[in-house]
């Protein structure tokens, strides 16, 4: 207790009597923290293992290239229409949401900045990222499907675009904010106008980050089911048109077949799940790759 300490017997720095409990608590907490990581990894490993083992047995060239059997109880067949549908629907959504989202982000970061309107848009786009995807599906059902009396890939694209738009805006703005101000000033100093500066300086610098963010948004959209339930209809043969006739999608097929009592349909669900996971992970990995190359490039150039 005494503050003035004599150099007694050389045991000043050992744990004090009360420290045992503290150390035990520290170790217990560390153990729990590690357990938390493991707990989160279990379902990831389980799901991936499940999809590979169950889907792997049906997955193959045939599965990727054949039509879906008309009758659920039929065994075999493929998922080509759903793969084509997913790609068309997601591509259509990206074609709408990406340009609009990037433009919106440009407004927020380059023009609006701290203005009230920009802050409202920024805030609501953040809130909009939390709107459930099924609500987007209902919305497009009401304003599009109900109105035009048809279910098409385009209706699904619209629903997914609603989902992607706020994500693209938010991630793009974050990236644009990272563009150094000196670059813009350098361009202005040469007499460039704003639009030219944005096009030739800001966007090229931000492009890898935006591409990465967009790929993640596409990955998320490609896996969505709820927005497609009432918007795209149902087919068993390939429909390559964005605007005409109903189509189908991988996620929709999984949902449709998951509760089927027939083994054939269940197998197709597993195969479709593997296909979808591969597709989604491909986009995610691409996004990571872009990020990695980008950070390596920028850190290399700043290090030089």
């Amino acid at each position: 207790m005494s503050v003035v300490t004599a150099p007694a017997g050389g045991a000043l720095l050992r744990s004090r009597p009360g420290a045992k409990g503290r150390k035990a608590r520290n170790h217990a907490a560390t153990a729990l923290i590690v357990v938390a990581v493991l707990v989160a990894l279990i379902p990831l490993v389980a799901v991936i293992g499940f999809v590979i083992s169950r889907g792997g047995s049906v997955f193959g060239w045939q599965f990727l290239t054949q039509d879906i059997p008309v009758l659920d109880r039929d065994i075999g067949g493929g998922m080509l229409p759903a793969i084509v549908g997913t790609l068309i629907i997601t591509g259509g959504a990206a074609a709408m949401a990406v340009p609009l989202g990037v433009l919106g982000a440009i407004y927020l970061n380059e023009y609006g900045q701290r203005r009230r309107l920009a802050r409202v848009i920024r805030f609501l786009s953040e809130v909009m990222t939390g709107v459930p995807s099924i609500v987007m599906g209902l919305f497009i059902y009401v304003v599009w499907v109900l109105h035009f009396k048809n279910e098409t890939a385009f209706a699904g694209s619209l629903a997914l675009a609603c989902l992607m738009l706020p994500i693209v805006i938010r991630t793009s703005e974050e990236i644009l904010r990272l563009v150094p101000h000196e670059l813009r000033e350098g361009s202005y100093a040469l007499g460039s106008r704003k639009v030219r500066t944005i096009r030739t300086v800001v966007l090229p610098h931000a492009a890898p980050g935006i591409v990465s963010g967009v790929l993640l948004a596409v990955a998320r959209a490609a896996g969505e089911t709820a927005p497609l339930l009432f918007t795209i209809g149902f087919v068993t043969s390939t429909n390559t048109s964005l605007f005409h006739g109903p189509t189908t999608a991988l996620s929709y097929q999984i949902f449709h077949n998951a509760t089927s009592p027939f083994v054939g349909a269940q197998d197709r669900a597993y195969g479709a799940a593997l296909t979808l996971i591969l597709l989604v992970f491909l986009f995610t990995a691409l996004a990571r790759l872009v990020t990695t190359i980008y950070t390596r490039r920028t850190s290399a150039s700043s290090g030089a």
Binding site: R25, N26, A29, T30, V34, V35, A36, V37, V39, A40, P43, L44, V47, F50, V51, L103, G104, I106, Y107, L117, V120, I121, L124, V127, M128, G130, V131, P132, S133, I134, V135, L138, F139, Y141, V142, V143, C162, L165, G186, G191, K194, V195, R196, T200, P204, H205, A219, R220, T225, F230, S251, I254, F255, A258, T259, Y270, A273, L276, I277, V280
Partner: protein, 334 residues
């Protein structure tokens, strides 16, 4: 790209007239046009949000007119007899979300702490990427997996927990009447927990990372163990960030549709039996919309509106808390 701009010669400025803009850089009009275009894109968010509200509200009117306020808030959802009370579904939504948060929040905080405070620097990024991979797995795949692999073992657990606690007050009721198939509130809650863990982890991690080294060193310099340092420095610093992470996770849980639709058992009811079957607003829309028409369909769209309002409110609270936390931390940083 920059070099291109730099290399392009500027129009030589006429010393007398340059500032009057006699030869201005090209594109004054296109500048204006571009600004308006970007503004329009930004406004699109507001337009879409407003349209969602208007469109769903207009379709939900029929439900409202047919049922009236009191029966909307009843728990009787019975399409066969034209009863569309939403309360049981609201309850189911909140119950599933609550169970999900109960599992996901401690796990997420643990992962965030592992990544920011415990793990060696080299393994941090791989772990972040791995957890993010969990977010990339589509909801429907989780549903399919749970249906095939999870519900059967869970039903055994439910049975034994239920029989072990039967007669115990409170717990007995909570765990009574387990569903035979394993489709239950609890099952949905667990799967939703898995799905919201990445987002809750990501936000929590971002807040923990910003805890200044000076704060952590202050705690350690006082003789704190790592856990004491976390409690003394990291948690107080990240408190509001964790709150908003929980709110954002809550918003996601409320809207989780497809996986829940596959494994909750689709029986809209108000019950304390968390091992029993139930339903949520989002999942009933997914499961019944295809068969519905008339008031039924209108009621389902109305549920969508309720879902929208609920998630928007949750989102506003979460973002406000987060913004306030950012501002506070900004002051600290300065």
């Amino acid at each position: 790209m920059t070099t291109e701009t730099l290399a392009r010669p500027n129009p030589t400025p006429d010393p007398e007239r340059s500032l009057r803009g006699a030869t201005p850089p090209p594109g004054r009009t296109s500048d204006r046009v571009f600004q308006v275009v970007t503004l329009a894109a930004g406004l699109l968010v507001l337009v879409v949000l407003a349209l969602i509200v208007v469109a769903t509200a207009s379709q939900a009117r029929a439900w409202f007119n047919a049922e009236g306020l009191s029966s909307i808030f009843s728990s009787n959802w019975d399409p066969a007899h034209h009863h569309f009370g939403a309360f049981g579904l609201l309850y189911g939504t909140l119950l599933v979300s609550f169970i999900a948060l109960l599992f996901a929040v401690p796990t997420s905080v643990g992962i965030a702490l592992f990544v920011t405070e415990v793990a060696p620097r080299r393994v941090r990024r791989p772990i972040v990427y791995t957890i993010d991979l969990l977010a990339a797995v589509p909801s429907v795949v989780f549903g399919l997996w749970a249906l095939a692999e999870l519900i059967a073992p869970l039903s055994h657990i439910y049975q034994s927990v239920s029989s072990a606690t039967s007669g115990v007050p409170l717990l007995g009721t909570l765990f009574a009447n387990p569903s035979g198939s394993g489709e239950a509130f609890m099952t949905a809650g667990i799967v939703v927990a898995i799905m919201i863990t990445p987002i809750v982890t990501a936000i929590t991690r971002e807040v923990f990372v910003t805890c200044p080294a000076s704060q952590k060193e202050a705690a350690l310099a006082l003789g704190a163990t790592r856990w004491e340092m976390i409690r003394g420095a990291v948690f107080p610093h990240g408190r509001s960030g964790v709150v908003s992470a929980v709110m954002i996770g809550f918003g996601r849980a409320v809207g989780e549709t497809i996986a829940v639709a596959l494994i909750i058992g689709s029986s809209p009811r108000l019950t304390a039996n968390i091992f029993g079957t139930g339903d949520t607003m989002a999942s009933i829309i997914a499961n019944e919309f295809g068969d519905a028409s008339g008031t039924w369909r209108s009621a389902l769209i109305g549920l969508g509106l309720v879902l929208l309002v609920l998630t928007v409110i949750i989102g506003i609270i979460a973002r406000t808390v987060l913004a306030r936390a950012d501002r506070r931390l900004g002051i600290v940083a300065r």
